[in-house]
């Protein structure tokens, strides 16, 4: 059985896998940044007293969580052009991942914000900070610290979800595997290789999360310039 497994073909296709990997990395990074932005805004809306903000935020989060990502992606890719918005597939892909992941991240951030003691908000208010200022300086830095583990989980999901973009012909990592599988009829080689690359990305993300929690954590002494 293993004699049929062609390492040589994998090596031959490595440049293609490399390009796919790079595309997956940067489009996931962009999507995650977008998702964080979407998530912070939705979480902030969801925590307002006014229904005017809360109802649309909740409706959006429910809609995204209740429907398959593939359906959302197809809606943006095939549906939007019918409504007059023609966007390149990469933009559609990043948009879909940001909007989808943002709904999950909104709930993570909302829980994180609720975990910050009320006194922190009051300290910011009492010193004359506006809502935006105390979110930026006081609340969110603390929220990100406690939410790093769940955000890491969401980042991993996002990287894996980006495989769906192969279906709208974005040449990312999974697309490279598909090409090897269809060009040479070597699905085992193709998909095992991309699996290895996804595993690699997973460990990179874990390392990054560890670094950032140490960066945001308490350091014994730091010179403040």
């Amino acid at each position: 059985m293993l004699e049929n497994f062609s390492f040589r073909t994998i090596i031959e296709y490595l440049p293609l896998f490399g390009q796919g990997l790079i595309t997956t990395v940067w489009l996931s990074a962009l999507s995650f940044a977008g998702a964080l932005a979407v998530g912070v805004v939705l979480a902030a809306m969801n925590l307002q007293r006014s229904q005017l903000f809360r109802v649309p935020a909740k409706a959006y989060i429910d809609a995204v969580r209740a429907t398959p990502l593939l359906a959302q992606l197809y809606f943006l890719y095939f549906g939007l052009p019918r409504l007059g918005f023609v966007l390149p597939e990469l933009v559609v892909g990043i948009l879909a991942l940001s909007l989808n992941s943002g709904a999950y991240i909104a709930e993570i951030i909302r829980a994180g914000i609720l975990s910050i003691p009320r006194g922190q908000v009051e300290a910011g208010v009492a010193s004359g900070m506006t809502y935006v200022l105390r979110m930026r300086l006081v609340i969110l830095p603390q929220v990100f610290k406690v939410t790093i583990p769940p955000l890491l989980g969401q980042a991993i999901v996002l990287v894996k979800d980006s495989a769906l973009l192969s279906l709208i012909s974005v040449s990312e990592l999974t697309r490279a595997g598909q090409l090897l599988a269809s060009d040479r009829f070597m699905p085992a080689e193709g998909f095992l290789t991309i699996a290895a690359f996804y595993l690699l990305l997973y460990y990179c993300l874990k390392g990054l999360a560890g670094l950032s929690s140490r960066w945001l954590g308490l350091q014994p002494a730091r010179s403040s310039t």
């Binding site: 009051e122 009492a126 010193s127 004359g128 200022l133 830095p141 945001l216 308490l218 350091q219 010179s223």
Partner: protein, 252 residues
């Protein structure tokens, strides 16, 4: 000391203020005027509304009716910029509420830099000076978790002073402290008072009241029951409720 009157506006002026939490009337018809540079100690049993009283002054609580005028500005008036007014009012919390992700110095300089727009270098110099003033020159780069309760509360006081406020409010500043740390915080508060700060202090520290307060206000069940100089209040309380309260806190 000048006598507060209805006609004259003090630094803090409560005029017939009422507040409810649901059906509970937590502030009952409060009329109280605090002059510039005056130090007023507010005491009373737990749940008497004393914390709520001072939390109204910087708008952490809103009032239902009556007028509350702070530094010449009426709270709740559309013309009053509450955010701006708060920069003039320092508030020291019972539980310190320092920012745990910031060093002592960063805690002190955060609002001056971002709210007051003071240049960073200048704010940091002022912050170092303030931390030295509260006896924490060696803790400039320490995080709150590395400080004792008394040290944290002194940083919190320095954080307020960094904004150069006109008024300082203290909400039971020593209640969360171990006994041996209380005096280090009170000493700082005495120093602030002696520099002429307008202060309202919710506390049961009667030594502090005797030393720096011009007036003690005794509250019970949401109303001001008695108000007078510390000597008069402690040696000859006028009401049964204040006598009962004093006998409880002075016994031990």
């Amino acid at each position: 000391m000048s006598t507060p009157s209805q006609a004259k506006t003090g630094m803090i002026d409560f005029r017939g203020v009422n507040k409810w939490f649901g059906p509970l009337n937590v502030l009952k018809d409060i009329t109280l005027s605090v002059e510039p540079r005056e130090v007023v100690v507010v005491c009373g049993p737990s749940g008497s509304g004393k914390s709520t009283l001072i939390r109204c002054i910087n708008g952490l609580e809103t009032i239902k009716d009556g007028d509350l005028i702070v530094d010449g500005q009426r709270l709740g008036d559309p013309a009053t910029n509450m955010t701006l007014l708060r920069t003039e009012i320092g508030f020291v919390f019972q539980s310190f509420n320092l920012y745990p992700h910031k060093t002592a110095l960063e805690n002190v300089t955060l609002a001056p830099i971002h709210v007051r727009k003071i240049p960073r270098a200048e704010a940091e110099q002022a912050g170092r000076d303030l931390l030295a003033k509260v006896g924490l020159a060696d803790k400039v780069n320490a995080y709150p978790s590395q400080l004792s309760g008394g040290q944290q509360q002194r940083v919190a006081i320095a954080r307020c002073l960094g904004m150069r406020p006109k008024i300082m409010l203290f909400d039971e500043p020593t209640s969360a402290l171990d006994p041996e740390m209380i005096s280090e915080v009170l000493d700082v508060m005495v120093a602030v008072a002696e520099e002429g700060m307008t202060m309202m202090v919710v506390t049961h520290e009667m030594g502090f009241a005797r030393k720096v307060a011009q007036r003690v206000v005794f509250m019970d069940a949401g109303a001001i029951v008695e108000s007078g100089t510390p000597e008069a209040f402690f040696s000859a309380p006028k009401t049964d409720r204040s006598r009962a309260f004093l006998s409880k806190i002075l016994r031990h």
